[in-house]
């Protein structure tokens, strides 16, 4: 195809207008949702988790998580008597297909679901050199995959091991707290699929959210509090051996 000078002169302003529209991006996706009215977190009640793997499968289905990678996963802890410092942890295929029967009958055994802690002061967003990962005004840590250059800094920075590099896109990927669901008034896929209510989405800015009464009346912890990440994934009945 040959383009002469006259056509170039016409094409250039058209391209400029189109480029402007591309940069302007999409309109507001959830019109009835106000960013500043929410502050999202999650409650995980260890005493209710049965290790069925429903959350892992639901997350994979909802978010097209690549095979062999996990935005959420379940670990099984075996803590032998008097050996709290050396728990034996297994998580076959992220707990996606449940867990085989326990071989050890002694000690303490329990399941720990894990995912992004959506930290208020997250190390992963602080190390991103291009502004591709960020915390939204409503407290969710997200990745802009159009901006991510795949340098993996954030994957190394996350103290909870919650990020991975998408093998096809070669961009960082992580739990979005089902941002496309919670902004529409739905709960996350993992919470929706959890049969025992071990996972509960929590809006910490909503005074009517049952999370407030729960936090007041239970011994709730976060993982690695000494990292001062401001984690918002609250664990009830968390054993001291969990790391």
């Amino acid at each position: 195809m040959k383009i002469n000078r006259r056509q170039i002169l016409i094409l250039l302003p058209v391209a400029a207008v189109a480029w402007d529209a591309i940069l302007a991006g999409m309109p507001e996706a959830s019109p009835n949702y106000t960013l500043t009215e929410h502050w999202w977190g999650m409650l995980v009640d260890i005493s209710k988790c049965i290790g069925c793997g429903n959350c892992v499968r639901a997350c994979a289905a909802e978010n097209d998580v690549p095979e062999g990678y996990f935005r959420t996963w379940v670990e099984r802890y075996h803590v032998a008597d008097y050996d709290l410092a050396n728990p034996v942890v297994d998580s076959p295929d992220g707990g996606k297909n449940g867990f085989p029967p326990m071989l050890e009958s002694d000690g303490k055994n329990f399941f720990i679901p894990k995912m992004c802690n959506h930290c208020a002061d997250s190390p992963c967003t602080q190390v991103c050199p291009v502004g591709a990962t960020f915390i939204t005004p409503d407290g969710v840590v997200l990745v802009d995959k159009d901006y991510c250059i795949g340098c993996r800094y954030c994957i190394q920075a996350c103290p909870y091991g919650c990020r991975f590099l998408n093998p096809e896109m070669h961009t960082a990927e992580k739990c979005t707290l089902c941002y496309h669901r919670i902004t529409k008034g739905l709960t996350t896929a993992c919470c929706e699929a959890c049969p025992t209510g071990a996972r509960q989405l929590a809006d910490l800015k909503n005074p009517k959210d049952p999370i407030h009464a729960f936090l007041r009346t239970h011994d709730v912890q976060v993982l690695k509090p000494y990292m001062a990440t401001g984690a918002k994934l609250f664990y009830n009945d968390l054993d001291g051996s969990v790391r």
Binding site: G25, A29, S30, M102, G131, T136, D144, Y179, H180
Partner: protein
């Protein structure tokens, strides 16, 4: 005026720098998206783009809008807190087009066992069975209706 006989040189340097600075600002204005910096050091429109992703799980509220009979059965029983899609799987597509897209048939031999097979790491209060000893190979729904599993509790499916 003698001291500044080379003023023209200075002017040229200033012009070169000014041209460079203006070119930089123009290129930056063209390349940085308008929404960058709207909420922080990131592209503000990325939030809307991520929020625009379609849902896969419909949510039990949507299911119950049509299947209120099942909801009422479920409310009476032990599975009141178990959401529809925990067993039936992600069905947002079915809610968009209930006529043509039917939920898959379920196998209680897989689904019931997934939660209720005995495992030492499960909470002690959670009802667990050793399937082989418990049912002697009979399918679970011979005795238990999944929507209200206590024996004799629910007669409707």
């Amino acid at each position: 005026m003698n001291r500044f006989k080379d003023a023209e040189h200075l002017l040229r340097v200033v012009l070169v720098f000014a041209t460079g600075a203006i070119a930089f600002l123009l290129v930056r204005a063209a390349l940085v998206p308008q929404s960058f910096g709207q909420y922080g050091h990131y592209r503000g429109n990325a939030i809307a783009a991520i929020a625009a992703k379609p849902i896969v799980f419909a949510g039990h509220q949507t299911c119950e809008a049509c299947h209120s009979d099942i909801r009422d059965v479920k409310r009476q029983g032990k599975h009141a807190g178990v959401n529809c899609e925990a067993c039936h799987g992600a069905l947002a597509k079915h809610t968009e087009d209930p006529g043509t897209i039917q939920p898959p048939k379920l196998d209680t031999a897989v689904l019931c066992v997934r939660c209720h097979e005995v495992n030492g790491a499960k909470p002690k209060s959670f009802p667990q069975v050793v399937t082989k000893e418990h049912s002697a190979g009979l399918p679970c729904e011979t005795c238990h209706q999944p929507h209200s599993p206590l024996i004799g509790a629910g007669t409707k499916p």
